[in-house]
Symmetry: C2
Amino acid sequence: MQSKRLPRAVREQQMLDAAVRVFSERGFHAANMDEIAELSGVSKPMVYAYHGTKEELFLSCLRRESERLMERILAASDATLPPDEQLWRGIKGFFEFVGAHRDGWSVLHRQARSLEPFAGELAGMRKALVQLIAHRLDVALQKEGRQVRPDDLTSMALSLVGASESLADWLSAHPDEDPARTATRLMNAVWMGAGQLLHGHTWKPPLDERGNHQAAA
Amino acid sequence: MQSKRLPRAVREQQMLDAAVRVFSERGFHAANMDEIAELSGVSKPMVYAYHGTKEELFLSCLRRESERLMERILAASDATLPPDEQLWRGIKGFFEFVGAHRDGWSVLHRQARSLEPFAGELAGMRKALVQLIAHRLDVALQKEGRQVRPDDLTSMALSLVGASESLADWLSAHPDEDPARTATRLMNAVWMGAGQLLHGHTWKPPLDERGNHQAAA
DNA sequence: CCGTAAGGTTACGCGCGAGTAAGTTATCTC
DNA sequence: GAGATAACTTACTCGCGCGTAACCTTACGG
């Protein structure tokens, strides 16, 4: 019952879809190439023909997913906006991605971080994001006439990314939660800070053109 | 050249030490039982005799390390202190632990999180910490006469833990960095918040009895 | 309508490393 | 100092799953 022969480009994507799913469900080692092949509607040697070894296949998944995520974040956060709004939109875009691509996120964050062949690759991408955020913070600070040591900027960006990742995991375990709501919570944590919240100063999402809260979108 | 016969209790700890090191260097799957045995000064069947399967051995490592970490954090953060100081001390204790037990931390955070047999166990411990923090936040808020929805408390705690983990990874890659300095940076991120920092309001570590900054200890 | 290449398959080799059976010495106890 | 037992070793088995060799078959360009 083999459905139909498909052109390489199409099959390659199906294979990546299947691989992302299986890797995220079972983890890299427990994932087995036959299962990935079957889920792609094809037999194992085809996977090897198109994507090389298991390791190379995983790397392809990693690259595709992280590229999509980065695009999403960059598209959402516009450098010309005020800093809080940049942050808000970036975070919201990130959580929306995670909400929509659970297993892609799992491949990136859970699997790739621990396994040595991939950790480096992923660390590189994460670093790029951290540096981007650090740079935008720097710009915002300079507009206020302030200057901060580079390590302090990096720490701030790392905290932000770490907090986001942590909430992203929580979000992916709570499918019914609205990503924008989670984003709002994160803004309260990292933009306002616990000290402010103690005194009742909270952060609220900005209004869009129609006057609706973006969080309710 | 077998050095000496040792009582079980001693050998068991040596094995855990060796295992933590090897697991953290190679990862769970790439780690091999012979290497762990050799590093414990003993041959493989002894490891099986004392710690059961590879999986059980890893679980023992996980439990020992996470217990030590929890103890450390609880000992440092005293619930009778004001909230910012509780947070400060807890974070500082955490980073000091990570600085002193790099590979223990690696086993916990990098390895255990992704591998299915262990992820659940670790998630449980992490959850306990998150709930502890959420509870203390709640107490602090109630002292101010405020009330916050439980999910908002949890989010705040999750952000905090996530940010800490992120900086802990950075710290373990920068051995010369002072843990207390990293803790200060984290306080600025999560207690003050990016919004405050933009306006030049920063957080400084409290003074100890002798008038020294604790960060310089 | 035929040749050829792209899409596809079945069936296997083989290395690695978890786990063990059977046996050997040190050490402690009475 | 005998005998029991805890500490330890050598030398295997064996299954799993990655990766491949060798072989079909459908589509389609000329």
